[in-house]
Amino acid sequence: MFEQVEDFHRPASVREAVRLLESGKGRARIVAGGTDLVVDGDSTVRALIDITHSGIAYIRKRGGSCAIGAATTMAELEESRIIRGLGGGILARAAATCGSIQIRGVATVGGNLANGSPAADLVTPLLVLDAVVVVADAKGRRKLPIAEYLAVRGARAMRQSLLVEVTVPRPLGRRCGWSFQKLGRTALDISVVNVAAGLQVDAAGRIQWARLALGAVAPTAIRAGATEKNLRGRGLDAEAVAEAAEGVMREVSPITDLRASATYRREMCRVLTRRALVECAAQAGCAI
C-alpha cells in the first residue's frame, strides 16, 4: 500500500512539521495514530510526517480553558481527570465509544477532527462545548471556532496546515447539565446518530442557554441553532423537551445509507435528543 513512501519523518516541533508539509508538495501526509490514514491506503503518499513527538500531546488548564493538544489520544481523553470533569465528562464519554481499546490507544482528537466524518464522535461534544480549533501553517497559527473549522476542513487552502490544538472553554456556573448519546448497530460501531447536549437553568428552572449538536445526520455534525433558540428562557419541563426533540428533526438532513435509512435517523434524532435533554435536566436538578 505504502511501498512508494520515501520518507518517514518524526519532527520534534510544530514548525518543523509544517515545514515538512509545505515541502512535501501535496504528497506528504500527517500521521498520528494512523487509524484513518492506513485504512484509506492512498498510494500517492510519498512522505509521512509523524506528529506524535511534535509537542502537541497534552491536556492542561490554561486560564479559563482546557487546552488539548491535537495528538492527544482517545484513551488519554478517557482517562484524564481534567477531561472527565469538563462539561459533565461528555468528551471523555464520547472518546470511550471511539472503537476498540486498540484503536483508542493511538487514535487522536486531531485525527478525529481532520478526518471529517460527519459521524465523528468527538465532534458533537466539542460543538456543544464551544471548542476552538488552532491550526498552524507557514504563516503562523490561527484559531477557528469548531463549526468554522468543519466547514473549511477539506478546502485546498487547508492542505498545508496542521491542526495543533483544541481549546475548550471550561463552562462555569451551577445547575448545568450535559449529555452524550450515541446509537450504533452493535457495541463497537460508528455512529448511526449521535447527540450531545448541554444546558444551564436558573434557580426557577428556566433555561439560560441550551446547546444541541447532532452527528451523522448532515454533511458535518451540526448545532441545532433554531431549537436552541426556542429553548432559551423556557421552563425545563417535559413539554419543552418534547418540542425540542420534534424541532431538531426539522434541522437535520440525514441520508439513507447501508447503516440506516434517513427516516430512521430522523426519528432517532428525536429520541436521542429527548433522552439527552432528560439527562441534562436531571444533572441540572430538574427532574422530568
Binding site: M1, F2, E3, Q4, V5, E6, D7, F8, R10, V31, G33, G34, T35, V38, V39, V45, L48, D50, T52, H53, A57, A71, T73, A75, E76, G99, S100, I101, Q102, I103, G105, V106, A187, L188
Partner: protein, 169 residues
Amino acid sequence: MTTMQLRVTVNREPRKWSIAPGDLLLDVLRREGFFGVKRGCEKGECGSCTVLVDGRAVNSCLMFAAKVEGCEVLTIEGLAEGDRLDPIQGAFLDHGAAQCGFCTPGMILAAKALLDKNPHPNEAEVREAMAGVLCRCTGYIKPVEAVLAAAKQPAKRATRKRQPAGVVR
C-alpha cells in the same frame, strides 16, 4: 526503494531491522518470523494482529513500523518463558478458550495489557479489553472466563513493573 533503520525491542530483545518507510508493523513482524501476529483484515477491525507496544494493545496492521522506534514490543511469542506459560496462556488451555486459535494471540495479548494495568478486573472490564479482538469460534464465553480465572491467580513469576501504560506515540 528507500530503507531506514528501525531500532526496537521485541520480546525483551533489542533488534535492528532494515525497513521501508511505509512498512507496516504487522508485515515487518511476520517478515522477521513472528508468525504469531496474524493478518485478519488489515483495517484494524478484527484485532488478530494485536501486539503490545510499551504495554498498550495496538493493531499492528495500522501501525507504521517506524513509529515503534525505541519502543518495547511484545508479541505472543514473547509471553512464555521457556516451558513456563503465562497464567493467561495456561487459563486459556484449562478453560478450552482456544478453538481454531487464530484470534488467540490477539486475545491473550489484549488480556495481558488489561491485567498488567488492572490486576483485578470485573467481567465488564474484561469484555471491554477483549472487544477489539473478533472471534468467530467461541462466542467469547470461555476466553472471558479464562481471563477472569487468570486474574485470580497470583503472578507465577515476577513481571517487570511497567509505567502506568505508556501512550504510543
